[in-house]
């Protein structure tokens, strides 16, 4: 019996306290005068961002601009060997053609063309790779390693966007633009490991994977891992993962 009374009393008292709290709160002014540390700014909701076809087209433009900026950089042009330099000049022309092909597509879909390199991809790995090549002991090889991955990333970007694009005709247009960067990536692999022996995957005498022109049967969407730059005191070099754009690097 005592227990029942206690529980009821507790609920009753609790309810009374809550009601009193509500009444007191309602009576109080907005600026109560009670001391408080700092000012809490009004929360502003983030704008909604939809991954539409035009967003993908604009991002593709930014990735092509990234390739143009990276390939045309003073570091790459000065550190590349003669063969590498000739290849890069050819590749730059192909990326300009892709940019020119993308611009009308962006306009048709009601977007505004992107004329600057993809900021996050530039910050995340292109700037780092360029700096490492600048101080490398084997810069001409490192340039080719970087260009091989960069061209692969550009091609993989279009491939990745097929899954996100809603309009079939646009998927087709994007993949037509993926062909040349993919060819250029494979051609650069041939410059690193030439001839038909370089086409097939293989390993060196230490069991490490060699660059292969055809490393897989289907186009991968995984990151391109490259190891470039100066050898440090431990005998190691810097590894960088070069990836296709993700949700936080799209041009909304």
């Amino acid at each position: 019996m005592n227990e029942r009374i206690n529980r009821r009393t507790l609920i009753l008292n609790g309810g009374t306290a809550a009601a009193a709290g509500v009444i007191l709160a309602a009576c109080g002014s907005e600026h109560s005068g009670i001391a408080r540390v700092g000012e809490a700014p009004a929360a502003t909701a983030l704008p909604e961002a939809h991954v539409s076809d035009v967003v993908l087209l604009r991002t593709a433009e930014s990735v092509e601009q990234l390739a143009l900026e990276a390939l045309g950089s003073e570091v790459l042009m000065s550190k590349a060997g003669d063969t590498g330099k000739a290849a890069i000049e050819q590749f730059v022309g192909a990326h300009r053609a892709n940019v020119a092909a993308l611009a009308p597509l962006v306009q048709q879909h009601g977007g505004e063309s992107v004329t600057t390199p993809n900021t996050r991809m530039m910050k995340n790995y292109v700037a780092t790779a360029t700096a490492l090549i600048a101080e490398s002991d084997t810069p001409d090889t490192d340039v080719l390693v970087f260009v091989h991955a960069l061209e692969g990333v550009v091609a993989a970007t279009y491939q990745a966007f097929v899954a996100w694009t809603s309009e079939p005709a646009l998927r087709s247009a994007m993949m037509s633009l993926a062909v040349v960067p993919s060819e250029q990536s494979a051609a650069t692999a041939q410059l690193l490991r030439s001839g038909t022996a370089g086409i097939v995957p293989g390993v060196d005498k230490n069991g490490a994977d060699l660059v292969a022109t055809l490393p897989s049967a289907f186009g991968p969407l995984s990151a391109y891992g490259i190891t470039i730059g100066k050898v440090n005191e431990s005998g190691a070099r810097t590894s960088i993962n070069m990836e296709t754009p993700s949700l936080n690097s799209l041009e909304y």
């Binding site: 939809h50 097929v162 809603s166 993949m175 494979a186 650069t188 370089g198 097939v200 055809l214 186009g219």
Partner: protein, 190 residues
């Protein structure tokens, strides 16, 4: 009222309260969804289908083309030796994989009949590589054109992943045969 009855009464009340809350929550959720769907401001996008039966004929046409490439590489491999043969065998294996992957996509609707070898006259690896590269480019073009009508995202993703590697085939053949990257444009790069 004995203690047992009182406890039962309390339990019923508590259960009833929880039940009412759950019901109210569900009602709010349903009302909120209904409101969001009908307010005219929310996006009304429809995701593309993963698979579409209308793609069957298109994908079967791509299988037929890949079967032709398999037959063509079989012929090319027969006339090659050493590293050249190993490289051609790898590309041959890739095309077999494309046939299998595309057929797997369609299941029982797939039409996997034997292909016909495309024109291949080259006696040396360099000559054969030029011809094979031209066939690869023609195959890529067919895949790219097919993408414009393929509605299912599974098929579109698969075809896209084939296109990027067939483009690598082109470069592998041309640059290994000529030793120069410029061969890509000389052979009529897109």
């Amino acid at each position: 009222m004995d203690e047992t009855t009182a406890d039962n009464s309390t339990a019923r009340t508590r259960r009833g309260l929880i039940g009412s809350l759950v019901a109210a929550g569900a009602a709010v959720a349903v009302a909120s969804r209904a409101s969001a769907a009908g307010d005219g401001t929310s996006p009304t996008t429809t995701a593309p289908p993963k698979r579409d039966e209308a793609d069957t004929a298109t994908v079967n046409a791509l299988i037929a083309r890949e079967q032709d490439m398999v037959a063509t590489y079989e012929q090319a491999v027969g006339g090659a030796g050493g590293d050249d043969r190993a490289a051609l065998e790898l590309m041959h294996a890739h095309h077999i994989a494309y046939v299998q992957a595309l057929a797997a996509l369609l299941g029982p609707d797939s039409d996997v009949s034997a292909g016909q070898a495309l024109a291949l006259q080259g006696g040396t690896y360099a000559q054969a590589a030029q011809e094979l590269a031209a066939h690869e480019r023609a195959t890529i073009n067919r895949h790219v054109e097919a993408l414009a009508s393929i509605r299912g995202t599974d098929a579109a993703n698969l075809v896209a992943s084939i296109i990027t590697v067939e483009a690598r085939h082109v470069a592998a053949l041309l640059v290994s045969a000529t030793g120069t990257v410029q061969s890509l444009t000389a052979a009529g790069q897109n």
